[in-house]
Amino acid sequence: MPFSPDIPPMTARTEHRGEVLPLVARALGLWRDGRTLLDNVDLRVEVGPLTVIMGPNGAGKSLLLRLLAGLIAPDAGSVTWAGRAPDRVRIKRLGFVFQAPVLLRRSVADNLRYALRAAGIPKAEWHERTASALAEVGLDRLADAPARVLSGGEQQKLALARALAPGPEVLLMDEPTANLDPTATAAIEDRVGRARDAGTTIVFVTHDLGQAKRLAGRVVFLHRGRVTEDAPAARFFDAPASEPAAAFIEGRLLP
């Protein structure tokens, strides 16, 4: 054997290797009822700029995000986290915020404590992490309120705070502000921006062009289950290279 198996030469570069990152999708395919929902999707997420996955309704954005999180299995291709298939231990290093927040029927603080416990965070840290996570989204005064009486915006802020509280390596968000008013949307974007600046790698799904421009460092454009473009944000918005992306940016209706 010419080289030792535990030092693969290809990864010996400067690339950051975490427990989840690099998160790599290779040639993903997904079919249901004879329809192709995702077709040959390649995507590589590494420590770095915030990735926005954009595309019209029904493009397959939510399915792709759930595949990346290991929540559903692809019919073709593979998803790997740091070179291995997703598993239940390392998923604790991944945060996920759904379009509609899924809150436990408990107090706001108990929702956070549940996530911290599940992620294996030592109990001694719960109090401090809960307090700061809530303060970060301005929910500190609602710590003892039942989570499910909160307004829609507050619920999503809580879902975001809960996903961030254990300190995930990567945060996946599926149109988290699609149902929210501009004020709540701004608060969510603000918190997402600070998490990004603090070093959390984020994949953010949206079909809102303005939001994509505000947040994206890189844009992946998905159309009918295919990636038509994957480019740095500035390039993407100035000179989209694919016809569906150009049409979307100009506000033309996509075929």
């Binding site: 231990v89 998923i91 945060g95 029927r105 599940a118 992620a119 039942p146 009486v149």
Partner: protein
């Protein structure tokens, strides 16, 4: 025929005096039915949760059977338990026939289908809502079931109350397996049946009033669980 208003007056006197015989009967009733509900919960909660999260051939038939068993006639349960506990039956050597334990066993069998069916439905509904979120938290199958049971606690509490209501009010099963023996297995319902047939309406009425109060209290508890604003958003 005893004078009816006299019987009522006597019944209230027994209640207000906390008549010893009456209290003994009420105490045994509560002990038997509460124990039966707790024992039923220990079996039915895990059983219902397991049915909610597993898929196996014949599951549909099991669910239909479980739902049908909710309406099981108490006398039939009494008969089955009687046969099992009778000297020639499989559990005969335990010598449980005509003991409070036999009554607990019979009532437990009456309550299990109710609690198991509600648990199955509740956990299955909640799972549809929480499955992906809990998996993203890295929660395993056992943790998932425990979480869903807790999330469904108000529905499950309602089912347990309904089970208690059914147990404490039934007469068919306990009279067969308990035998209505004075100071041993005489509970409210069997005592009412006996005293009425003997024409001792005062004791029967006194017990009937207590049974009614218990039924009202159970229903009030169910409504409180369902209606409290805080719980409404939790349910």
């Amino acid at each position: 025929m005893q004078d009816l208003s006299g019987a009522f007056a006597e019944a209230f006197r027994l209640l207000l005096d906390l008549d010893a015989d009456l209290m003994e009967i009420v105490g045994l009733s509560l002990r038997v039915s509460l124990t039966a509900v707790v024992a039923a919960a220990l079996i039915a909660l895990p059983l219902g949760a397991a049915l909610a999260v597993t898929r196996f051939p014949g599951r549909g038939a099991v669910l239909v059977t479980l739902n049908a068993l909710m309406g099981l006639p108490p006398v039939v349960v009494g008969l089955v338990v009687y046969l099992a506990l009778s000297r020639a039956g499989p559990l005969g050597p335990l010598g449980l026939l005509y003991t409070p334990e036999a009554m607990i066993l019979a009532q437990m069998l009456l309550v299990i289908p109710i609690v198991a069916a509600v648990t199955r439905q509740t956990v299955e509904d909640l799972r549809a809502e929480y499955d992906e979120q809990l998996r993203v938290f890295g929660v395993g199958p056992m943790g998932m079931v425990a979480t869903l049971l807790w999330e469904g606690r108000f529905s499950l509490l309602t089912a347990l109350l309904a089970g208690f209501g059914r147990a404490v009010a039934e007469v068919g099963a306990v009279i067969i397996v308990g035998g209505n023996i004075n100071h041993v297995t005489r509970v409210m319902t069997t005592a009412i049946a006996l005293e009425t047939s003997k024409g001792n309406l005062a004791l029967a009425l006194g017990l009937g009033i207590i049974l009614l109060l218990i039924a009202v209290a159970v229903n009030a508890a169910v409504m409180t669980v369902r209606r409290t604003p805080r719980h409404a958003v939790l349910a």
